[in-house]
């Protein structure tokens, strides 16, 4: 583990041992992150709706795990990583909502009649199809992606952690900072919402 680096300098032998251990841990972590990073990125992107923010959240979660938890057994890395990632996602969501609130206040302060609403933007788009039509024309991937993005944050992340990532109820509860009962409720609601959203499309495929 990285704590093994904290061994006093005594001999060439111990130095080599420490270097070997740290190299081994570094390689294990690199493999772990390489295996998990794509799914983690997708999860963060679903929650944040911004690839750059998602990338930052994943990187911060990697750093958080490396700085604090590498001394823990390797099988704990995955739930710990997702716990940190969820924490980073929530931080970013909070910051984003504060920014939006201040942005709204600023726009109120700066609103005046010098900038009338753009007539082009106000014109209804007659080409846009209704949801049912849209759904029948899009492919499965797009439909599922849209349905997942439409879920509330906790239902969405519960679904992804439990169904996609295969985390246990307890691990999901820890990652999301809620009780195991709440996880079950969120998952049930997420499944119902997805079924409703995907509708007949789900059975046509």
């Amino acid at each position: 583990m990285l704590n093994a680096l904290c061994v006093p300098y005594d001999s060439q032998g111990s130095k080599d041992q420490v270097t070997d251990q740290s190299t081994q841990i570094t390689n294990q972590l690199n493999s772990f992150f390489a295996e998990i990073e794509k799914r983690a990125f997708h999860m963060a992107n679903y929650a944040l709706g911004n690839p750059d923010d998602a990338l930052d959240a994943v990187q911060e979660a990697m750093m958080g795990l490396m700085e604090r938890y590498t001394h823990r057994p390797e099988e704990e890395w995955r739930p710990l990583f997702y716990t940190i990632l969820q924490s980073r996602i929530r931080d970013r969501q909070r910051r984003s909502s504060v920014r939006k609130r201040f942005g709204g206040l600023l726009s109120l302060l700066h609103s005046d009649d010098d900038h009338p609403a753009d007539a082009f933007q106000q014109t209804p788009d007659t080409v846009v199809q209704n949801p049912e039509e849209s759904l029948s024309n899009e492919d499965a991937g797009t439909a599922i992606e849209r349905a997942l993005k439409n879920l509330p944050y906790r239902q969405q992340q519960t679904f992804l952690l439990r169904i996609w990532e295969g985390c246990s109820v307890k691990q999901t509860a820890t990652a999301l900072g809620c009780s195991e009962g709440t996880v079950k409720t969120h998952l049930s609601r997420a499944m119902s919402a997805l079924r409703e959203e995907l509708g007949d499309f789900h059975y046509e495929q």
Binding site: L2, L5, C6, P8, Y9, K15, V18, T19, T26, L29, N30, F33, A34, E37, K38, R39, F41, H42, P51, L55, D56, V58, Q59, E60, M62, M63, M66, E67, T70, A140, G141, I144, E145, L148, F159, L160, I163, W164, M191, S192, L194, R195, L198, H202, Q205
Partner: protein, 127 residues
Amino acid sequence: MNNEQQDELANKIRNQLDDAVAGMDGATQSKLRQARAQAMEKSLSTTRPFYWSLYNGRGRRWLPAGVALASVLMLAVLLVPLQPELPSSDQAGMLAAEDIEILSQPEELELYEDLEFYRWMSASEMG
């Protein structure tokens, strides 16, 4: 929705998500690799203790000087308690006052000077 339908839907979504990960575009994959490399480099540099530099790199050349300085400091710490304890200036003042008091009382000095005579007299009276 029964369990079978639920499992079917869950499987379908899971497969779709796996396909999305497998087909991730090269640019995003490259960004993720860079983010991982940066995270590992930053974390390792903050996790390493200060004496990690003694193992590798420039810190190694300062090792002899550091050892010598530590030895001097340890020697200084060990030697200081070995010096005899001298009376403080207050204590010295008090002792000098007592000496003067004794010296200023002549009768008591005579007693000490004739101590042998008084002992002989006491012994002969008892005998």
